[in-house]
Amino acid sequence: MQQIYYIIRKEFKQIFRTREMIAIIFIAPLIQMLVLGFAITNEVKHVKLIISDRDDSFISREIIMGFQNTDRFDFLGYLNSNQGLKDAIQGWKAQMAIVIPTGFSHDLQRNLRPEIQLIVDGVDGNTAGVALGYAQGIISQFSQNYLNHPRKRINFKKVHWAQQEERMWYNVNLDTAQHMVPGIVVVLITIISMMLSAMNIVREKELGTLEQLMVTPIRKHQLLLGKLIPFLFLTFVELAIVMKVAQLIFSIRMEGSLFLLFGLAFLFLFTTLGLGIFVSTITQSQQQAMFVSWFIMVFMLLMSGLFIPIENMPLLLKKLTYLNPMRYIMYIMRDIFQKGSSIQYLAKDVLPMTFYGLVIFIFGVLKFQKRVN
């Protein structure tokens, strides 16, 4: 037992004496959190818009105002020729164009259902779709206002329709950060507990001190525990720091139990620490260890629902995600943060995550030998 203690003590001494380690553990995650938290957004804003207003009426200007009053679109100006519109979009000057045809307001008042044309640059498919959605939303808002106008009501006396009233739960402001930051937290704790632990073990391999340790009668489990426990501890420290920062800078609300969060994160760490051990057995240099753990991590991330919602994936990939422990912790993190979910609902994620985690961990431990190869 005391052997583990001696190793832990040595590890901490070494970690805190290395400036790079301190930077990586405390500073780098903050920077990453800041950059990623702000950069990872699927929001669409400031879409460059040109308008061809061929009607030039009170009504067409009312519609146009709807587009000017929002920061989702940056109104660049008017352009009337079709070729001009084409050149602007093809030449990267504008992303979207709206054409209000001649006689629009006239036809509208005659209930002739005139047509507004929306043209969007499809190069960025995602932004195009979202921008179209926004534009349609603005136009439909105009339609509603138009129909609800008292004078119009007389014409529509016998009309009734269903009106959608939606409530957005868990994220009233539709703030992307609320959804992404918990995911970024997962990334950060994975980096420390997997990449750094692997690099740390491989560093001793590179220096030759690992060989020296292997010659001592220290048991394998004592050696591994001694090496991993410091990183376990540091992961939690970082988790706490990162969460505080998230709260301060991104106003992330934590609806659920902190205790539950930390506890379930601990179960996830079986996976990452186990992978760390595994990587240390298959690499010879710190650089390799870093690359390999990076590779594994990116792979897990892509299949975890962080960037692409799992619901969007084709069936085969969706099924594969069930084997990925990170998928479960991603759901767990987000559900605790955003929905305040509790263990009864999360059990169905906790169990497979823990199971796979233990399997990976045991596999890593078995692969680690007190031998040189």
């Binding site: 950059v35 699927n42 990267w92 209930n111 259902r113 969007v120 190069v123 269903a162 957005m168 739960w169």
Partner: protein, 364 residues
């Protein structure tokens, strides 16, 4: 110079692991994102709480049932415990039909239809909201006494009518891969020589400094052209990415980008003292900005000002415009002048700094 190139090539072959990872990653991403990144959700689980059960309400439910967006099921609980559906992730939205729906529909001008949406993922939430409104509009067109839309909207999507994500993605992977090979790997390899002291040996030989650099860098150029072409071919054949512009233009401008990336790699190698440091700097200067700050996946226009400012010095941002422009929009050189000039300027600056530092390093 050729001898140096050949030696470098052998080095690369002997370290297959790092190489494999640099290639495997984008290819896997290509595969996954190419197939998976259609932000359109389908089969959203929608629970229905129908307090009315009138014919009208059934019409409404049928409308949702018939839509390919939704996967609809009846929920027998009450609105008090419907949160369970969200916590258990059984539904992403709940449609609540009030008990007086049919009554109100006949009497009043507008009757509210309540939809509770799980907007934890705000994007999904917005999409679901839009889908719902499309269904309700369709319902209104069928059953409301008069069409509610006073106007029509026609949308045209240029250059990518099916909104295929691959169009967006493949150029990004190209930019990422090229910069990783040409900046990351070259900076590591030059630094490695410095670290191991073999640099002096080469410098003592009659080969000139320029030739040394070019020799070292040649195999990487070769590899990047090969892999770049591979990605393009896969993108075109497998994912239907078009090639609407000129081959020559793309080739020339890609060469420009490669040179920019190489200059960056060279400059990093003059700053870093060890491989470890080179790696760290290179990752921060290449991988992170290219993935997140170039417009590769996440649109720049929505990011905070400071990140947008930083993105101006990310070479990938301009190359992305170029590749997307040539492949998808069929841009001419004239239309791509701005990004081209900026890349030229960057290359110039980087090369000057790098060469000056390199000569400085030699002297010391």
């Amino acid at each position: 110079m050729l001898a140096i190139a050949r030696k470098e090539f052998l080095h690369i072959i002997h370290d297959p692991r790092s190489l494999m990872i640099i290639f495997a990653m984008p290819i896997i991403q290509l595969a996954m994102f190419g197939y998976a990144l259609d932000m359109e959700i389908k089969n959203v689980d929608l629970a229905v709480i129908n307090y009315d059960n009138s014919i009208q309400s059934q019409h409404l439910v049928e409308q949702f049932e018939g839509s390919e967006f939704f996967n609809i099921f009846a929920y027998n609980g009450s609105t008090d415990d419907m949160e369970q559906l969200f916590l258990e992730r059984k539904a992403k939205a709940v449609l609540i039909i009030n008990h007086d729906f049919a009554q109100s529909f006949h009497r009043n001008i507008s009757t509210p239809v309540q939809i509770i949406i799980d907007a934890a993922d705000p994007n999904a939430g917005t999409l679901i909201k839009n889908y719902c409104s499309q269904v309700i509009i369709a319902f209104n067109q069928k059953y409301a006494s008069r069409p509610t839309l006073p106007l029509e909207v026609e949308s045209t999507i240029w250059f990518n009518p099916d909104l295929k994500s691959a169009f967006f993605f493949v150029p990004g992977l190209l930019a990422l891969l090229l910069i990783m090979i040409c900046a990351l790997l070259t900076s590591i390899t030059i630094t490695r020589e410095k670290e191991m002291g073999t640099m002096e040996q080469i410098l003592v030989s009659p080969v000139k400094a320029n030739e040394i650099i070019i020799g070292k860098v040649l195999p990487y150029i070769g590899i990047s052209i090969l892999v770049g072409a591979l990605i393009l071919v896969i993108g075109i054949i497998l994912f239907g990415v078009p090639f609407n512009g000129s081959y020559t233009l793309l080739f020339l401008l890609s060469t420009l980008y490669i040179i920019t990336a190489l200059s960056l790699g060279l400059m990093i190698s003059t700053i870093a003292s060890t491989q470890q440091v080179a790696m760290m700097i290179a990752l921060i200067a290449t991988l992170l900005p290219t993935m997140f700050l170039s417009g590769f996946i996440f649109p720049l226009s929505a990011m905070p000002k400071i990140l947008q400012i930083i993105s101006h010095i990310v070479p990938a941002k301009y190359y992305l415009m170029i590749v997307r422009g040539v492949l998808i929009k069929g841009n001419t050189f004239f239309q791509l002048m701005e990004p081209t000039l900026i890349l030229v300027l960057m290359t110039f600056l980087l090369l000057i700094i790098a060469l000056r530092r390199f000569k400085g390093n030699l002297e010391s």
